[in-house]
């Protein structure tokens, strides 16, 4: 005769291995963690900037050329820059080439 109570007791003894359940929990916790990778972030940012620059220079090459020229001039002129103090004690600054020409 089928005894439901005995069957329930038998079923209660059937259980999943605890280590397997813990393994699944650990697996989901591991996959959920977000790791911050500074090198990867920097590389992605650099690639994005490079692509943006390339895009802009392709769309408007004259503006890009002007930009690079301004940048180059700024760097070059800065090498000849000097601070001057006038006779009145006023401080002025300018590039050495202009000061020489003016004097």
């Amino acid at each position: 005769m089928f005894d439901p109570k005995l069957y329930r007791e038998a079923c209660r003894e059937l259980s999943a291995p605890e280590d397997k359940i813990e393994e699944i929990i650990a697996m989901t916790e591991k996959t959920n963690k977000k790791h911050f990778r500074p090198l990867r972030t920097a590389l992605i940012a650099a690639a994005a900037v490079a692509m943006m620059v390339m895009g802009v220079s392709a769309a408007n090459p004259e503006a890009a050329q002007e930009f690079w020229l301004t940048l180059r001039n700024a760097v070059q002129v800065d090498q000849y820059r000097m601070d001057l103090t006038t006779e009145e004690g006023e401080k002025v600054w300018g590039d050495t080439q202009n000061v020489i020409e003016e004097s």
Binding site: L6, A16, P17, T28
Partner: protein
């Protein structure tokens, strides 16, 4: 689902999923695989469960579906690894082992219906919903399963009685 909620649900329903899959597949390794699949589906599920009962019913339904999917798979139907062959749960109590063996000797659909109805305490309608079957069909399955179990277990009792030899009384 948060990590804490998932961990709690996995510890609460892990055994339930394992038992459903074990009843459907009659193999501990496959039952563990189904348990892992169902728990991962629960973890990825974006559904807002209304209550614990809702979670339990969802889990039972998914466990039944996953077990059926594995049962139908071509690879499982055509091959059984040697180390897994005839690997079954071992119960210490012979009476319990006999009942479980009798249930596991039934067809998978009968086994599942018996498990959901008698162990999980679902109604016939809930069992039908979990198994995606008609209520009348599940009623028929349960009737047949009970009849077969009655027959099988009474035959078992008869066999045991025939083995037992009554000692002769000395006058």
């Amino acid at each position: 689902m948060t990590d804490e909620a998932f961990a709690q649900a996995a510890r609460t329903y892990g055994d339930t999923i394992y038992r459903v899959a074990y009843h459907a597949l009659d193999n501990p390794q496959d039952a563990e695989d189904v348990m892992q699949t169902v728990l991962l589906r629960l973890y990825e599920c974006k559904k807002d469960f209304e209550s614990e009962e809702h979670v339990k019913h969802w889990i039972l339904r998914v466990a039944v579906n996953e077990s059926r999917r594995l049962l139908r798979s071509f690879w499982r139907r055509t091959s059984v690894p040697m180390e897994e062959w005839q690997e079954t749960a071992v119960l210490e109590d012979p009476a319990k082992a006999e009942v479980l063996e009798a249930v596991m000797a039934l067809e998978p659909k009968y086994r599942l219906a018996v498990y959901l109805y008698y162990y999980e305490g679902l109604s016939v309608a809930e069992t039908a919903a979990a198994m995606r079957a008609n209520v009348s069909t599940v009623q028929t399955w349960l009737l047949r399963a009970r009849a077969r179990l009655r027959k099988e277990l009474s035959q078992e009792e008869e066999r045991e009685e025939s083995v037992y030899v009554r000692p002769k009384t000395v006058p």
